[in-house]
């Protein structure tokens, strides 16, 4: 079980729906209309996967901070 996750937001893909900021406001906010994580490396939390899986353009990736394994989005 990983102890820390790294959140990435691809600003070229992001279309600024704010679904992530509404789903996980403690982890995402909108800056100049686009999503940005509040912190890049965070303690694992299910709600971060919810946000990544809810993004319509798959702009959010969640990886294990230790070994870079992809945790979300699935597939």
């Amino acid at each position: 079980m990983s102890t820390a996750w790294r959140i990435g937001v691809d600003s070229r893909r992001c279309i600024g729906t704010s679904i992530c900021a509404g789903t996980a406001p403690e982890h995402f906010r909108l800056v100049d209309g686009l999503s940005a994580p509040l912190a890049d490396v965070v303690a694992p939390a299910e709600v971060i996967i919810d946000a990544a899986d809810s993004c319509p353009v798959e702009a959010i990736t969640v990886r294990d901070a230790a070994d870079d394994r992809l945790i979300a989005p699935e597939e």
């Binding site: 509404g22 919810d50 319509p56």
Partner: protein, 409 residues
């Protein structure tokens, strides 16, 4: 109200205006929105049914109301929600807030990502080409609504969800229940919803008899059967029925709306014909430009006191955000009332904003791109086959659009 209470509550609450401001006229945006954005960006409105509400008209304020977590949809269930429909209807995900909303949204969001939708594009193109072939074979004048705009999105959502296309006449009729305000009597709306739920219920039972079918309905049924906490049986049926109905009703309406706007802007249509690579940008501009909704619906309730547009919205008060008004805000869109298919910065709110941002947005985009590109390139002489004044517009619905669109080419 006592004098001391007035002093404590120093905000000015203007008298409510009847809303919508006028009877919808084709795709005209009521000029009242422009005046309000200028002079009274947060105003009070009274819809035909339900309690009074605030109405936000500026882009930034509408985004705040729809996107800020201090606002929510869940309280609507306990309130006399401002609405256009005589009866208050609850629409699953749209009356939920996170984390409840997230639980359902996550299950379906993956089927509608840009990547998944892109994989459906060749099939959508094939369907569109076949429909235009058939229409051309019949010859002009032909009804674009009947021959292209309606069957294209229906066939795509049928294949995605796993609903037999042969049943389209039945469920398309029932689907009007989700966009009807007064076009159908309340009892008929309820009857159609019951029919739709019953129909989906039968398909769910079928998936259980034949597990392993890989369409979205099969995925949802498996999600429920693997973990009963993920969604209830009612949620499963209402969710699938909502996807089927919403999955085509709006696109069916927007294809003729887009064609109508293009025919009324011949310079822009010529530009698109000369350079079909403009199609994606053109679709975004048309999504911005067309005021699809009649008025505004689905008020957000303040969970705490929030200042929006210089007004203090009290905890518990409902606020509507006008997407059509936001999309014409000159603070964000240069020359906002002009259709410019090459517009580069176009962060329109045509699909809404925040957690309720249209779950089918990427699918709708793709279908609209396919429809516009196919019609523009294959029918260079596309035109109305009747005088514009004879076109029949929808009445008593949440959306504006044409009942029929006789065209020649």
């Amino acid at each position: 109200m006592t004098e001391s209470a007035q002093t404590a509550d120093s905000r000015v609450v203007p008298p409510a205006r009847p809303y919508p401001f006028s009877v919808p006229d084709r795709l005209v945006v009521d000029p009242t929105y422009g005046e309000l954005r200028e002079n009274e960006p947060m105003t009070r409105v009274k819809l035909p049914y339900g309690e009074e509400a605030w109405l936000a008209t500026r882009y930034e304020d509408v985004r705040t109301v729809l996107g800020d977590v201090r606002f929510g949809r869940a309280p609507a269930v306990q309130r006399d929600e401002p609405r256009l429909t005589p009866r208050q209807q609850y629409s699953g995900m749209l009356t939920m807030d996170p984390p409840d909303h997230t639980r359902l949204r996550r299950l379906v969001a993956k089927a509608f990502t840009a990547r998944r939708v892109e994989a459906l594009r060749p099939r959508a193109q094939e369907i569109a080409d076949a429909l235009v072939d058939d229409m051309v074979r019949i010859g002009p004048p032909a009804d674009l609504v009947e021959h292209v705009a309606t069957p294209l999105p229906i066939q795509v959502i049928c294949e995605l969800l796993g609903v037999p296309y042969a049943d389209r006449d039945r469920f398309h009729l029932w689907s009007e229940a989700i966009v009807s305000t007064t076009s159908l009597p309340p009892e008929t709306i309820q009857e159609y919803l019951n029919n739709l739920w019953g129909y989906i219920g039968d398909l769910v039972a079928e998936r259980r008899r034949e597990p392993g079918i890989d369409d979205l309905l099969g995925v949802l049924v498996r999600a429920r059967d693997e973990n009963q906490d993920r969604l209830s049986e009612t949620e499963l049926v209402e969710l699938a029925a909502g996807l089927l109905a919403a999955g085509h009703e709006t696109t069916v309406t927007q294809v003729p709306n887009f064609v109508y706007v293009l025919l009324n802007n011949p310079d822009q249509l010529a530009r698109l014909r000369a350079d079909p690579s403009l199609v994606p940008a053109a679709v975004e501009e048309l999504l911005r430009y067309v005021p699809l909704g009649v008025g505004s619906s689905f008020a957000r309730y303040a969970k705490e006191d929030v200042e929006v547009g210089g007004v203090l919205v009290r905890a518990g008060e409902p606020v509507l955000g006008s997407l059509s008004s936001a999309n014409r805000d000159g603070a964000v869109f240069a020359d906002p009332d002009r259709l410019d298919l090459g517009r580069e910065q176009n962060p329109h709110l045509g699909f809404g904003h925040g957690v309720h941002h249209c779950v089918g947005a990427q699918l709708a985009r793709m279908e609209l791109q396919v429809a516009v590109a196919t019609l523009v390139t294959r029918l260079p002489g596309l035109r109305l086959a009747v005088p514009e004044a004879e076109l029949q517009w929808k009445r008593g619905m949440l959306v504006r659009g044409l009942l029929g669109m006789p065209v020649a080419w």
